[in-house]
Amino acid sequence: MGVPYSGPADPLSMALANRLVGNGSFFPALETTLTGVTLAFNSGATLAITGATARCTLNGSDVPQHVTIAVQRNDVVSVGAAEKGVRSYIAFAGGLGADEVLGSCSTYLSAGFGGHAGRALQKGDELRLHDAHGISPGLETPAEYRLPMLDAWTIRAGASAETASLQNPQQLFDRKFTIASRSDRMGIKLDGHKFATSIDGQMPSVPVFPGTVQCPQDGSLFVLSIDAGTTGGYPRVAKIARMDLHLLGQLRSGNSLTLIERKEDDAVRELRAKHAYWKTWLTDIADVI
């Protein structure tokens, strides 16, 4: 029917925030994009902030990211603009109340459904928190599980169905692209290198997924992200490996991106290794990445 995957653009950061407040990894949480958010509490709550590097305050005093924070009625929590990375995640013990559409609480902005009235939050909106079961112990993400927010990213990727139509497929890898300003939850445009394929503009539409890299006729690559359409008509020239898909949510306009090649067998082996590494902190990591 054309409904995208949706959900957090960086599911690993959201899972880390939920972990700190005792929630399952996919409990509804807030996602901010570049700009931050200020929240005034009408009741006590337990929350945690992860994702993009940002200055965070509680009643004007700095509070760290990646720790459980308890707030009281009338407290004000502020998450500043993203300094590195793009998206902050704010999770609340018990989870955020949200509209459920088609089995998901995810906001899908283009269609205006899910989340909070199907739209981005506005000043004055009131959010509802579900009751937390029990009291969350104060936690802190261990240093080795804090995702570094970078200026230069390296992401593993491999071939897709039309890679062979590229005149020079090896030029996909081990070169720096620049993240273009034309980037959002649907797709990320890569500047710096252009490509040519042997396929004309009349290719029958084919299924695409988050992580599919398309090459329109003008030659600039598009990396489809979490709100990717379900089908598209441009050649699929690469696919971001499943294990690194979560990084797409933090690629920022002006950052550099280098794709490094992983054949299918290596992509499987390294995904399993990544799961094994994370499992000690996030037991359901295999559902998250």
Partner: protein
């Protein structure tokens, strides 16, 4: 069958209707995270953390060799009133120039009854097959960043109706006021694969 990525397998099928039927069967099985139909292929995403690629290929091959016959349900017929050209179809002029048609000829050829091949891309976007060969045209070299809801594009022998505002790569020839997606409705989708649509030219929406 071929790979479309580390966790994606693509299988070719004869036509959009067959793709729909195969995807429906695959969605009913526990073997796949997702199954998505294209115009002449189906792609499955499988859990590479637990399933071997060779096993996934084998299962997909068996399913693709046993696609059920079509059922002969009566399909809905939906009229789509279209304003062609002008601000509503900003590409109609260059499309006509490229195809060697007048605006009037284009509209005459485009109006008529068609079958929806599939929904895809964005919620409710309808791929409508059977376009007259005289209207064959390429996608835009670079997709537009913003296409208004209701826009009607043509590319690769199909018409498409943009159900929602967003980016899009098809040359735009007109627009309809008919809503194709309503998240608040019991059935949010006006059209479905197999439905009949009738494009008619109107002067105002």
């Amino acid at each position: 069958m071929r790979s479309a990525g580390d966790d994606l397998l693509s299988v070719a099928v004869a036509d959009p209707q067959t793709a729909q039927r195969l995807a429906a069967v695959l969605r009913d099985s526990d073997d796949w995270i997702e199954a998505v139909a294209g115009v002449n292929s189906v792609v499955v995403r499988f859990d590479i953390a637990t399933v071997l690629r060779a096993d996934a290929e084998k299962r997909l091959g068996i399913a693709a060799a046993n696609i059920p016959e079509p059922d002969e349900r009566q399909q809905a017929r939906v009229e789509i009133p279209v304003i062609y050209g002008g601000e509503f179809g900003p590409d109609l002029q260059f499309v006509c120039e490229k195809l060697g048609l007048t605006r009037r000829e284009f509209i005459q050829i485009h109006c008529g009854e068609y079958t929806v091949d599939m929904l895809g891309f964005i919620p409710g976007f309808a791929y409508i097959g059977g376009l007259d060969e005289r209207l064959n045209i390429d996608r835009l070299p670079e997709p537009r960043q913003y296409v208004p809801a209701g826009s009607i594009g043509i590319a690769g022998g199909r018409s498409g109706i943009y159900s929602l505002p967003g980016p899009g790569g098809w040359p735009l020839v007109g627009r309809t006021s008919r809503k194709l997606f309503d998240a608040t409705a019991d059935d949010p989708f006006t059209l479905s694969a197999g439905a009949r649509v009738i494009f008619t030219a109107v002067d105002s929406l």
